[in-house]
Symmetry: C2
Subunit: 139 residues, 2 copies
DNA sequence: GTAACTGCAAAATATTTGCATCCTT
DNA sequence: AAGGATGCAAATATTTTGCAGTTAC
């Protein structure tokens, strides 16, 4: 099982209180988190700037990945599979529930490849599906 | 061919100078535009607030659609096909060139459907592919 | 001890809201 | 004339930067 300490060490990052707690939030959360979520969940124990910098560092190291949104925010989620610096493997579909608002990584659903028009050279593809999650559907 | 006046009329919007010019930008542009692009291209002829409100109105009416990004911005592009209020048909793949930065609607490439885990009910899917566009590839 | 990390202050940017005025119909 | 749209001012929110002090190794 993933361990805060080892994840940080493996990425040659100093093990600090802030990084441990923020990483923990991701490990515990089933869904993706936005910058604002992290501030709330840590009860503003850390400076807003520290949160920005921590998220940026985690993305650069490939510990978390960004999920595109349509509302001027970015969602972040753990990279479950092997991610290295500069080489993310967040090649899975993301789901946003329009009822509860949760953003979930569907790790087992791979982004299908598409045939692009002549000349285009694809490097990365992201897919976000919105709708009702299993829980909200039954309410 | 699409006509500014008719597009606005059809959506029961008053035909004003700002709306005509902003709509024109979209009609002329081959790619998607961000709020900032519009300010630049109109040479700040309109108040920043007017641009916000115009974009919001256009999205609500289904004249343009939003393209999700991973950088705290939203790109907007014309809905080429039939879009009605609340019912967008922007069911095509978007391409972002990592070299020139352009965001392009690949109207002819449909977002493939994926098999979601049990219980999830999909309503809408967005797909953004990044890589090199046809032009940048040859440079 | 040194390099890396954090917090604070402040600047720069971006977005929203209210209201008076102007324009479209 | 009436309702809708715009511009301006101002409040709010978000993100970035520099630097000094603190912490991890």
């Amino acid at each position: 099982m993933p361990d805060k300490y080892n994840i940080l060490k493996k990425n040659s990052l100093s093990v600090t209180e802030g990084r441990k707690q923020i990483l923990n939030l991701f490990l515990e959360s089933e869904g993706a988190l936005a910058h604002a979520d992290i501030e709330k969940k840590t009860d503003a124990a850390f400076d807003r700037v520290t949160v920005y910098r921590t998220l940026q560092t985690f993305v650069e190291k490939g510990i978390i990945h960004q999920i595109p949104t349509t509302d001027n925010s970015i969602m972040y989620a753990l990279c479950r599979h092997e991610c290295e610096e500069g080489h993310h493997h967040d090649n899975h579909v993301h789901f946003v529930c329009s009822s509860c608002g949760k953003t979930i990584c569907l790790d087992e659903v791979t982004v299908p490849s598409v045939q692009l028009p002549k000349g285009f050279k694809p490097q990365h593809a992201a897919m976000v599906v919105s709708g009702l999650c299993a829980e909200c559907r039954n309410n």
